[in-house]
């Protein structure tokens, strides 16, 4: 565990090393992938990436919230939230390194 933060730059670099494209084009393709996913989600579609997970949009109803500082009640308006459900493959990958020797 290194605790680093991976950003677009590193992901773009991985794409660059994997396929014989320029760094620029690799970065553009990464951006295009994210944009297509965002477009589909904004249109209310679910995005399913096999062996990774699925992203879907859930509609939340209005509810009464509270300003934690003042205790004042404020309505929280209905809104859409994005939910990511990791696939079993991803969940297993994340736990396999972290529980060496643990059979569970």
């Amino acid at each position: 565990m290194t605790g680093k933060t991976v950003t677009r730059a590193q992901l773009g670099e991985s794409v660059y090393q994997e396929v014989g494209l320029s760094r620029n084009e690799s970065a553009d393709l990464l951006e295009t992938v994210l944009n297509h996913m965002g477009d589909a989600l904004t249109a209310g579609e679910t995005v399913k990436i096999s062996s990774f997970g699925s992203f879907s949009v859930r509609q939340k109803g209005e509810r009464v919230g509270r300003n934690p500082k003042t205790g004042e009640e404020v309505p929280i308006l209905p809104r859409k939230v994005l939910v990511f459900r990791p696939s079993q493959v991803l969940k297993n990958r994340i736990n396999e390194y972290r529980r060496p020797g643990d059979g569970a």
């Binding site: 933060t5 393709l29 992938v33 996913m37 990774f52 308006l77 939230v81």
Partner: protein
């Protein structure tokens, strides 16, 4: 939209690329995110969102059929927090 639909879309928009390369590009992106998380790293894609892992402490669970108590060891789960820009696109009036 599925991964294969995403690949088909990219392949259409980039006729100069082989379909096989487009597939490798998309697969690489998600594999790299997975690898980073498996190492305990975060992945932050500003505007889109951030992937991180969260720890779920060990707990005593129950076998729902028998009611028997079983120890559930600690585990880690992937977590995604939607980026500000994408959140705003989902809720344009905010």
């Amino acid at each position: 939209m599925t991964k294969s639909e995403l690949i088909a879309k990219l392949a259409n928009e980039n006729p100069h690329l082989f379909q096989r390369d487009v597939e490798r590009i998309v697969t690489t992106i998600f594999d790299e995110i997975t690898n980073a998380l498996a190492q305990g790293d975060r992945v932050e894609l500003r505007g889109f969102g951030a992937f991180s892992i969260k720890e779920r402490g060990s707990r005593v669970g129950r076998n729902p059929r028998t009611g028997e108590a079983v120890d559930v060891g600690e585990k880690f789960i992937p977590y995604f927090k939607t980026g500000k820009q994408l959140r705003e696109r989902l809720n344009p009036t905010d």
